[in-house]
């Protein structure tokens, strides 16, 4: 054979081997797909998935519409309250977090965080009225959303489907018969994984597509951006599902008996889905000490009392020149009190700001650590990815608070313009009955509008793609593990 013919022969051999591997892979894949579809396990999981997923879409849509109605009612109530007043300083302006359309499918923290903030010109803003506060029953059982279905139900189904993928074929004897033919182990396990994955994906995608088609009918109009997010949520779900599938295949290829692999898979599932995410919060809580809220409130209160005590001598020393008429005395007193109050308020706010910043920094540090630990678990990674995509992650709370703080400046300027006074302190109003005139009701349209800016898909993608990438990495690592152990698996 001449020098040029040798590489040609090798190339042909390689191509032949590749073609043979692809043929065998396809064959195993189709067999697996057919076997899954014909099995009782598939029928049961398909039925359960269909019911749960369509129910999740229906209930999610209902929840979203209820939240939307509640949001609009709060806005109307706020406007009505402004319109019923004649003085701007009398109003209690409330801003409200609009419901996120994808919270219908991934509830995230949207029901745990306060949705209303009573606006003040200065000082701390506190979000109140969580959904769970109004409906505590949901706090106990949570919602039946896609995150729950994928996170708990489908990951369990993945294990139920794949726990005996390899050792089941060994005990039934089909593994020997398969490998009495010229099929490589790589083609077999790759075909098996792909076939199982596609078979079970069909059980998920059909009801998801039906549910998605129902959304506009149910009154939820998603924008193209939100459809794109939904597509990635489903993609993340499939990647997450793949993690447990490869994990179960891996476990079935290191054990000899299906009962052993089922038990082992279940233990791993319990740790990955239930224990690690919760433990991460506890571990992070122990590692990063976050000041107690009551402690901070007490610190603020003590400081407030201290400042009052410091002002007391000034108050005692304050006097109005004798003979000053009451009409002039009150403004003088009011000015004095206002100035004192302003100074106190500045100091309190400075302390509050520092304490809140410290608290926020500690909280974020703790969160970051908890998230990093939790990322050992594919379940936590999946939760992070989908809640970010749906816009219902913890980031929603941060963005709402940041938007509220931003709005507070607008509100403060507006109120100053309307009441002619800077905010804070004690307001003493002297009314002269002679000067009283009929006052007009306020126009709520004058109040600057609160706009909660949604993040764009691009912004969301940057953060959630890291987690989707991590899910894909889990797939790769577990499949690699399954593949490596199957290469050494005793086929007998």
């Amino acid at each position: 054979m001449n020098n040029r013919a040798v590489p040609l022969v090798f190339n042909l051999l390689f191509l032949n081997l590749l073609f043979n591997s692809i043929t065998m892979f396809k064959l195993i894949l189709l067999k697996e797909l057919k076997e899954i579809i014909q099995s009782n396990r598939f029928v049961i999981s398909f039925a359960v998935c269909s019911v749960l997923i369509i129910l999740a879409f229906l209930m999610g849509a209902q929840n979203y519409l209820a939240s939307q109605a509640q949001y609009e009612a709060t806005i109307q109530e706020n406007r009505a309250q402004i319109a019923a007043n004649t003085e701007w300083y009398n109003i209690n302006h409330t801003i409200t977090l609009p419901p996120q359309p994808l919270m219908a499918l991934v509830n995230g923290v949207s029901s745990d965080i306060g949705r209303n903030i009573e606006m003040r010109s200065r000082g701390e803003l506190i979000a109140e009225n969580t959904r769970f506060n109004d409906e505590p029953l949901f706090a106990i059982f949570r919602f039946l959303d896609l995150e729950f279905i994928f996170g708990i139900v489908l990951s369990l189904f993945a294990i139920i489907f794949a726990y005996d993928a390899i050792n089941g074929e060994r005990t039934s004897g089909t593994l020997k018969l398969c490998f009495s033919n010229s099929i490589s182990r790589a083609s077999f396990i790759a075909g098996k994984f792909t076939g199982s994955f596609l078979g079970l994906s069909a059980a998920l995608l059909i009801p998801i597509l039906i549910g998605a088609a129902l959304l506009p009918v149910l009154g939820i109009e998603l924008t193209s951006d939100e459809w794109l997010r939904l597509t990635f949520i489903v993609f993340s779900g499939l990647a997450y599902f793949g993690v447990f599938l490869t994990l179960a295949i891996g476990i079935s290829s290191i054990t000899r008996r299906p009962s052993t692999s089922f038990l082992l898979s279940l233990v791993v599932w319990i740790f990955a889905v239930l224990i690690i995410p919760r433990s991460s919060v506890m571990i992070a809580g122990r590692m990063v000490d976050v000041p107690n809220l009551d402690e901070i409130a007490s610190q603020k209160n003590n400081y407030r009392i201290q400042l009052f005590d410091e002002d007391r001598p000034k108050l005692q020393n304050f006097s109005i020149p004798k003979g000053t008429p009451p009409a002039k005395a009150f403004p003088l007193f009011s000015k004095f009190m206002g100035e004192l109050s302003e100074k106190r308020q500045d100091k309190i706010e400075a302390l509050e700001e520092r304490l809140n910043e410290e608290l926020e920094n500690k909280k974020r540090e703790q969160q970051k650590l908890a998230f990093s630990i939790a990322r050992i678990s594919p379940a936590a990674v999946f939760t992070f990815a989908v809640s970010r995509l749906a816009g219902t992650s913890l980031d929603l709370q941060h963005r709402f608070n940041d938007s509220a703080k931003e709005y507070q400046k607008l509100y403060s300027n507006f109120m100053e313009e309307k009441t002619g006074k800077s905010s804070g302190g004690i307001r003493i109003i002297v009314s002269d009955s002679d000067e009283q005139e009929e006052k007009k009701n306020l126009d709520p349209d004058e109040m600057p509008a609160f706009n909660f800016s949604e993040t764009s898909f691009k912004e969301t993608a940057n953060s959630s793609f890291t987690d989707i990438g991590l899910l894909l990495l889990f797939n790769l690592v577990f499949f690699g593990g399954a593949f490596a152990s199957f290469l050494r698996y005793d086929l007998r």
Binding site: K31, S172, G173, K176, L177, C178
Partner: protein, 263 residues
């Protein structure tokens, strides 16, 4: 050198050369096995449990690696080039287990394609299933409803359709009722007549004598004896087997051994 046709020995389709297997726990399951099965011949490995019969078959199928020696299928080392070697062999196990949720036809289609034969029509599948004696009504029934005999028949139909020149049978008649056993042996005979080289492990002395061209007696991984069907004509194989198993042949002057000694 001039050869007449009768002098040319066909190359063995299955060959064990000094095949030895020692497991991790130190048990020697097979000790220096040497055997050859030519096309159109049946070699029956007789032996009790743990004699090394299944180990030998597992080595031919590359399910385990030999400690020493080699298993050759059509001259190809089954442990060095398993994918190439397995193209030339079909396998029927003691207890054929197919996919229970598949019908007989679906199982046949899958395993035959896995064996590299993709050109068969449904009629050809049906013909093969008819040939092994499976009723037409069973073709589209799920395997979970099949008896052991029916599964065995489906397994042999798969082996027939793979059309490999060598067939490995691991205790193929074990657990079959007498009628099914006879049918099975008839089929094996037909395959031999078609030129297949068949290596069969069995406990069944009578069937081994009835159908085989060569009988090897294995005990504790050692091939104690190998006799052709001509050698065994008129010999009480059962007694011979028992004597080998008991180790008599090494120590006593057995009338059977004497009868087998070349004159």
């Amino acid at each position: 050198m001039e050869h007449t046709e009768s002098n040319i020995t066909p190359a063995p389709m299955l060959e064990a050369r000094n095949l030895t297997k020692v497991y991790e726990d130190g048990i020697k399951a097979l000790d220096n096995l040497n055997l050859k099965v030519e096309p159109g011949k049946i070699f029956a490995m007789l032996g009790g449990n743990g004699a090394g019969k299944t180990t030998a078959i597992n080595l031919f199928l590359d399910f385990i690696q030999p400690t020493e020696g080699m298993a050759l299928i059509n001259g190809i080392n089954a442990n060095k080039e398993p994918l190439e070697a397995k193209k030339h062999v079909a396998f029927v196990s003691e207890n054929v287990q197919l996919y229970p949720n598949f019908t007989a036809m679906q199982n046949v289609d899958f395993f035959v394609r896995l064996g590299g034969k993709t050109h068969y029509s449904r009629e050809q599948y049906e013909a093969a299933l008819h040939r092994v004696g499976l009723q037409s009504s069973a073709f589209d029934k799920k395997l979970k409803d099949f008896s052991k005999g029916m599964r065995q028949k489906t397994g042999i139909a798969i082996a027939i359709l793979k059309d490999a020149p060598a067939i490995l049978l691991d205790e193929p008649t074990s657990g079959l009722d007498p009628k099914a056993g006879i049918e099975f042996i008839r089929l094996i005979g037909e395959l031999r007549n078609e030129g297949k080289a068949i290596l069969m492990s069995t406990h069944d002395i009578f069937r081994a004598k009835e159908i085989s061209d060569h009988v090897g007696i294995l005990n504790n991984g050692i091939l104690m004896a190998e006799h052709s069907s001509d050698d065994l004509r008129g010999v009480d194989l059962e007694n011979l087997y028992v004597e080998y198993m008991a180790g008599y042949m090494e120590h006593t002057e057995s009338p059977i051994a004497n009868a087998l000694k070349p004159s």
